[in-house]
């Protein structure tokens, strides 16, 4: 049997539990909405403007750098699994791979893109 079937079952049961809990709460809890109650909560003062505030570009940069390292790790996992049997040349290859990417991190750093400014 495909082992991913278990993962699928975990996803299904993992959804049933919260859906059930929220569903029960939905059935037995009171529902008396009114316009004042459903206003956005900002510590009591009325909200000004839209919730869609302009965000810093920095969030995007960090996500971008993360993406590159994420893909790198995907390449490195198969390398790490076999490393014990492969000998020194494979280790050197992996180290070159990592060093090239660390150069990217250094470049980002030197350009000042890692500053939260």
């Amino acid at each position: 049997m495909n082992e991913w079937l278990y993962v699928l079952l975990f996803i299904v049961v993992g959804l049933i539990i919260p859906v059930g809990a929220i569903g029960v709460a939905w059935i037995i809890s009171p529902k008396k909405p009114n316009p004042i109650k459903s206003e956005t909560y900002e510590c009591g003062i009325e909200t000004v403007g839209d919730s869609w505030v302009q965000f810093k570009a920095q969030y995007y940069i960090f996500a971008l750098v993360f993406l590159v390292f994420d893909v790198e790790a995907v390449f490195l996992f198969p390398w790490a699994v076999k490393l014990g049997q492969l000998g020194l040349y494979a280790v050197i290859e992996g180290i070159i791979f990592i060093l090239i990417l660390v150069a990217g991190l250094v470049y980002t750093w030197r350009k000042g893109m890692l500053e939260w400014a």
Partner: protein, 397 residues
């Protein structure tokens, strides 16, 4: 007798006999048995989760020199059940302007992303759901769904605080995932396996003795991933009230809260699996699978306790400091450590165990010492840039 040696298989075989005896198709019976097993495990986890609320509140009370819940039942043990009743009968509430569908899906996804992590947790040599050969990446994948649920919650609430909290939290989660990935590669190198059962089996010497620095970096990254103090700026009470879940009430908030506690416990468990031998403890796991489960849960509890200890001891860190700490210190150190471990592992291969372990340990200590020295020099230079040269201050002595 057999039940005590391999409870899962015995129970499955017995159920198989029962179901096929009812005239059920064999494949359908297999799926049904797997479903029942998963349901049992997750139900047990939810019961544990209820008590984690009590444990967390008791422990934080002790850290803060209080007693904690002690009114409802003996030692306040019934308190979490009272809390559940309260959560259930709170008004079911959707804020105006919220995106109803996304708003309601987010807490469910948050809980699910934690529960599916237990698919790969080996509780004993014979008690595990599935030994995926890509276990460690599965861990990251489940975390990705958790990240998504936070951003969904923050966006769908139509609240500035929620959105800002979610963005900060997600920025922190993705940033600290980089050193986490690097430290996950280290047990993979040491054990030659990405499956968690393989990693546990390979730990004749606990990996914490072979790669102590990796264990430390993993713990730091895990705490950031959990969004717990000192990395809980997403819910800074004084500025964002409670972050991405500000507009949630009742059971929907309860799902986020229970998910967070179970997540912390789960990462305590992963810390134990990756670096502290998982269910292994001086051959105790060979005696009985039930002892192995007890060892595993005990180790996970200790991991969870350490995460709580850090949470209630440290101050919250500012977001710029936190991200600078990650990108300029933790990430470079983690990658240098990865390279050093890979190299040392290859050079020391085939040497006697005592030499291998002490060599690896020393290489880790060396990396840690070098990192601290570099950090100290750089921060001294930066301080001098701000405060002026130190020689002036010393002249006044």
């Amino acid at each position: 007798m057999n039940f005590w040696n391999d409870p899962l298989k015995t129970a499955a075989d017995w159920l198989m006999g029962v179901f096929t005896g009812w005239g059920m198709n064999e494949v359908a019976a297999q799926v049904l048995i797997a479903f029942l097993g998963v349901l049992l495990l997750i139900t047990l986890l939810m019961v544990l989760d209820i008590f984690l609320v009590w444990i967390e509140r008791k422990v934080v009370a002790r850290f803060q020199d209080r007693l904690g819940p002690n009114r409802v039942g003996p030692f306040g043990l019934i308190q979490p059940f009272a809390d559940i009743v309260k959560l259930l009968i709170k008004e079911d509430f959707t804020p105006g302007g919220a995106d109803k569908v996304v708003y309601n899906i987010a807490p469910m996804l948050s809980m699910m992303s934690v529960l599916i992590l237990w698919a790969i947790v080996p509780l004993a040599p014979v008690i595990l759901s599935v030994d995926l050969n890509v276990g460690l990446l599965y861990l990251i994948a489940a975390g990705a769904i958790g990240t998504l649920s936070i951003i969904m919650a923050g966006w769908a609430s139509n609240n500035k605080f929620a959105l800002i909290g979610a963005f900060r939290q997600v920025a922190v989660m993705v940033s600290f995932e980089v050193p986490m990935l690097a430290t996950l590669l280290i047990p993979t190198i040491l054990s030659g396996s990405m499956g968690l059962n393989g990693i546990v089996q390979a730990q004749n010497t606990w990996f914490v003795f072979i790669a102590p620095l990796a264990a430390l970096i993993f713990l730091i990254a895990a705490i950031a991933e959990l969004g717990r103090a000192p990395f809980d700026l997403s819910e800074g009470e004084s500025e964002l009230v409670s972050g991405y879940n500000i507009e949630y009430a009742g059971m929907k908030f309860g799902m986020f809260y229970a998910g967070e506690l179970l997540h912390a416990f789960t990462f305590g468990g992963f810390w134990a699996i990756l670096f502290f031998g998982g269910y292994r403890f001086f051959g105790l796991e060979q005696v009985s699978p039930f002892l192995a489960v007890a060892v595993m849960v005990f180790k996970a509890m200790i991991g969870y306790w350490i995460i709580m200890w850090i949470k209630y001891t440290m101050m919250r860190i500012r977001i710029d400091h936190m991200l600078a700490f990650n990108w300029k210190f933790l990430t470079p150190v983690a990658f240098v450590l990865l390279m050093v471990v890979a190299l040392a592992n290859a050079l020391l291969a085939g040497t006697p165990t005592w030499l291998y372990v002490s060599g690896m340990f020393l290489s880790n200590v060396l990396v840690a010492w070098a990192a601290m020295e570099v950090a100290r020099t750089v921060s001294r230079r930066e301080r001098e840039k701000v405060e002026g040269p130190k020689a002036v201050a010393e002249a006044h002595h």
